[in-house]
C-alpha cells in the first residue's frame, strides 16, 4: 500500500493518581517531555503532534485539544485531537502512525491526558450523557449498568462464575505493585474481590478500575529517522480499528465482534496468521476484570469462553506462556481514560526492549499488542508492536 515503516522510539508517562496537583496541561507537558528526553530528542525534531483526550465534560471546558496544546508541544505544528471514548489512547497512536506512515511527516509526538478528578461529585456524572437522550435517559441509567449488563451476558453465555473473573483483578493489581506509576497496586485474593461491595451485580468494587489523573506520551519516527535515534526501535507492525452498531441493545454483548475486526485488520497488516502463537505479550483494555477476558477472546488470543481458564491456569501471569497486562493494567496502574491506552503501548515498548525492570516478562518477547475499547461499548483499537 506504499506505507512507510514507523517505529516507536521514545515513551514517557506521569504517575497515575486519584487526584493530581498538576493541571491537565501540566501533566501533558510532563509526559511529553519525558518521552522526548527518553530518546534525546527536542520539540524541534517533531513534525506533528497527535493528541488524545476523553470527554470535555470531565474538565468542564470546551475544546480540550486547544487547552492542552501548550503542554503537548503543539504550537506552530500540525496538531489534531482525536476522541473515541475509552478507545482514544490506542487510537491516538494509530493517528500518529498514519501521519508518519503516509509520508506526510517524519516524526510525530503522541500525547494523551486525562484529569478526571475535576468533575464533582463523581466523573460518572459526565458519562451519563452517553445514553440516548430520548429512549434511555428518562430511565435514569448510570454508567455501571452497561458494564454489568455486558458482564452478566458474557458470564451466562459461557456458564462462568464470579471467581473465574475475579482472578484477573487479583493478577493485575499484583502486577501493578511493580509499576512505579501505579495508583492501585495491591496484593489481594479472589475472596477479597468476591466480598467487596456490590455496585451493580455482577460488578463489585474490586472488579472495576479507579478514576485517575495522568498523562502518557510516545514518540514515533519514520524508519530512516528512527535508525538515527536509537539502535532499539520498536516497529508498529499493524494497526486496526473498527466500530459496531451504536444500538447496543440490538447486539449480543457476550462477544466483541468489533475488537475481532480491528484485530484482523492489524494482524493482516503485521502478517500474523496465528495470533495465539505469534503474539508473545498482550495489553488488552481492562477497565473491568471481565473486559480483559472478553478482549482476549475478541483479539483471537484464545477461543470464545476460554480466557477464564487460561487465567486460572496461570497462562496469562507475568511468567506465563502469554503474559497479559504485565503492567498491572487499568485495574492496577489506573485509568485516566486516554492516557491508559498509551500506558499500555509504553508497556509493550519497554517489554520488547527488555527495559521493563521488575515487570520484565521472561523469554525475550518479540511481538506484542495493545488494545483499547470505547464509545458506547462498540469501538475497538489495536496496535501490534514488534522488534
Amino acid at each position: 500500500m506504499g506505507m512507510r515503516k514507523v517505529a516507536v522510539v521514545g515513551a514517557g508517562m506521569t504517575k497515575f493518581m486519584r487526584r493530581a496537583q498538576e493541571t491537565g496541561r501540566e501533566l501533558a507537558f510532563q509526559a511529553a517531555k519525558m518521552a522526548l528526553d527518553s530518546c534525546e530528542m527536542t520539540l524541534d525534531d517533531i513534525d506533528a503532534v497527535a493528541l488524545g483526550s476523553a470527554p470535555d465534560a470531565f474538565d468542564g471546558l470546551h475544546m480540550k485539544g486547544e487547552y492542552l496544546s501548550d503542554g503537548a508541544g503543539a504550537w506552530n505544528k500540525p496538531y489534531m485531537r482525536s476522541y473515541v471514548g475509552g478507545g482514544t489512547g490506542v487510537f491516538a497512536a494509530i493517528q500518529g502512525w498514519y501521519h508518519v506512515a503516509s509520508g506526510l511527516f517524519d516524526t510525530c509526538l503522541v500525547v494523551c491526558e486525562e484529569k478526571m478528578s475535576s468533575c464533582k461529585p463523581h466523573p460518572q456524572g459526565a458519562f451519563l450523557t452517553i445514553f440516548d437522550h430520548t429512549t434511555e435517559r428518562p430511565l435514569k441509567p448510570n454508567l455501571v449498568w452497561i458494564f454489568a449488563l455486558e458482564m452478566n451476558r458474557y458470564m451466562t453465555v459461557h456458564g462462568l462464575e464470579k471467581k473465574d473473573i475475579a482472578r484477573v483483578a487479583v493478577k493485575n493489581k499484583k502486577n501493578a505493585l511493580d509499576h512505579p506509576c501505579a495508583q492501585l497496586g495491591a496484593d489481594i485474593t479472589v475472596e477479597d474481590v468476591l466480598n467487596s461491595e456490590v455496585l451493580a451485580w455482577p460488578v463489585q468494587r474490586l472488579d472495576i478500575s479507579p478514576t485517575s489523573d495522568g498523562a502518557a506520551a510516545m514518540v514515533l519516527a519514520a524508519e530512516h529517522v528512527a535508525k538515527r535515534i536509537t539502535d532499539k526501535p520498536v516497529w508498529i507492525k499493524g494497526v486496526g480499528w473498527s466500530l459496531d452498531s451504536a444500538y447496543w441493545t440490538n447486539r449480543d454483548l457476550y462477544y466483541p465482534k468489533y475488537v475481532e475486526s480491528a484485530a484482523r485488520m492489524a494482524y493482516d497488516m503485521a502478517g500474523i496468521k496465528e495470533p495465539r502463537k505469534e503474539i508473545h505479550i498482550a495489553e488488552p483494555y481492562d477497565p473491568f476484570d471481565y473486559k480483559e477476558l472478553h478482549h482476549m477472546e475478541g483479539l483471537l488470543l484464545c477461543k470464545k469462553g476460554e480466557a477464564p481458564r487460561l487465567t486460572a491456569d496461570g497462562v496469562t501471569a507475568r511468567d506465563g506462556d502469554l503474559p497479559v497486562c504485565p503492567s498491572g493494567g487499568l485495574l492496577g496502574v489506573g485509568n485516566p481514560i486516554a492516557a491508559s491506552g498509551v500506558m499500555k503501548l509504553n508497556e509493550i515498548f519497554w517489554q520488547l526492549r527488555g527495559e521493563a525492570g521488575k515487570r520484565q516478562v521472561p523469554g525475550q518477547p518479540r511481538t506484542g499488542l495493545a488494545q483499547s475499547w470505547g464509545d458506547l461499548m462498540q469501538v475497538g483499537c489495536v496496535v501490534v508492536l514488534g522488534i
Binding site: A11, K15, V203
Partner: protein, 167 residues
C-alpha cells in the same frame, strides 16, 4: 518501568492535603438545559407508546425487525419505512441488580435494569427496568411483559411503560 527512568513526574494529593487546605481549587456549577427533538422515527415510537403499543421497523434488505425504530438500517444503509407492531412481551437478554446511584452513592432500593428482547423483533430489544420480582429470582431467558401506565397518564415517553414483570 523503563529501567532507564528513575523518577516519574506527578504529585498525588492526599485527603490530608485537601483537609489542610493545601490545595487551591476553583469551583463552577454550570446550569445547562437542553430540549431534544425526538426526530422522525422516535416520534412515531413515542406516539405508539402513548397508545400503549410498541412499534418497530423492518429493513427491506436484510429483513431484520428492530426496535427502537430508525430511518436507516445501519447495516444495509438503506432507508427503512416499513412499520411493524410488536408485542409488549419479551425475553430478558441480560440484566443487572444495581445498588448505586449515578454519583456512585448507595441507592435506597436496588434497581433491576435489563435488556429485553421484544417479541416480534429479530432478537433486538431495548433497555428498561424489571419489577414485581425478587432480584434473586431474575434469570437471563426469563419471560416478561410490560406494565403500562394508565392511558390518561401516558405522555409519549419510554416511561409510559413503568417496568417489565415476569409472566
Amino acid at each position: 518501568m523503563s529501567v532507564n527512568i528513575k523518577d516519574f513526574p506527578g504529585t498525588p494529593l492526599s485527603q490530608d492535603d485537601l483537609s489542610a487546605g493545601k490545595v487551591l481549587t476553583t469551583y463552577w456549577r454550570p446550569k445547562l438545559e437542553y430540549g431534544w427533538d425526538a426526530g422522525v422515527a422516535i416520534s412515531r415510537y413515542l406516539e405508539e407508546l402513548k397508545n400503549g403499543r410498541i412499534i418497530g421497523v423492518r429493513c427491506s434488505q436484510c429483513r431484520r425487525v428492530v426496535v427502537p425504530p430508525r430511518v436507516v438500517c445501519e447495516w444495509c444503509w438503506e432507508p427503512i419505512d416499513e412499520w411493524v407492531y410488536l408485542e409488549d412481551t419479551g425475553t430478558v437478554n441480560t440484566f443487572s441488580v444495581c445498588y448505586i446511584r449515578w454519583d456512585a452513592s448507595r441507592a435506597k432500593e436496588p434497581q433491576i435494569p435489563a435488556v429485553i428482547e421484544i417479541d416480534g423483533a429479530s432478537k433486538a430489544g431495548f433497555l428498561h427496568l424489571l419489577d414485581e420480582v425478587d432480584p434473586d429470582d431474575v434469570k437471563i431467558g426469563m419471560r416478561v411483559q410490560a406494565v403500562w401506565k394508565p392511558a390518561a397518564e401516558r405522555v409519549g415517553s419510554i416511561t409510559d411503560i413503568r417496568y417489565f414483570k415476569p409472566i
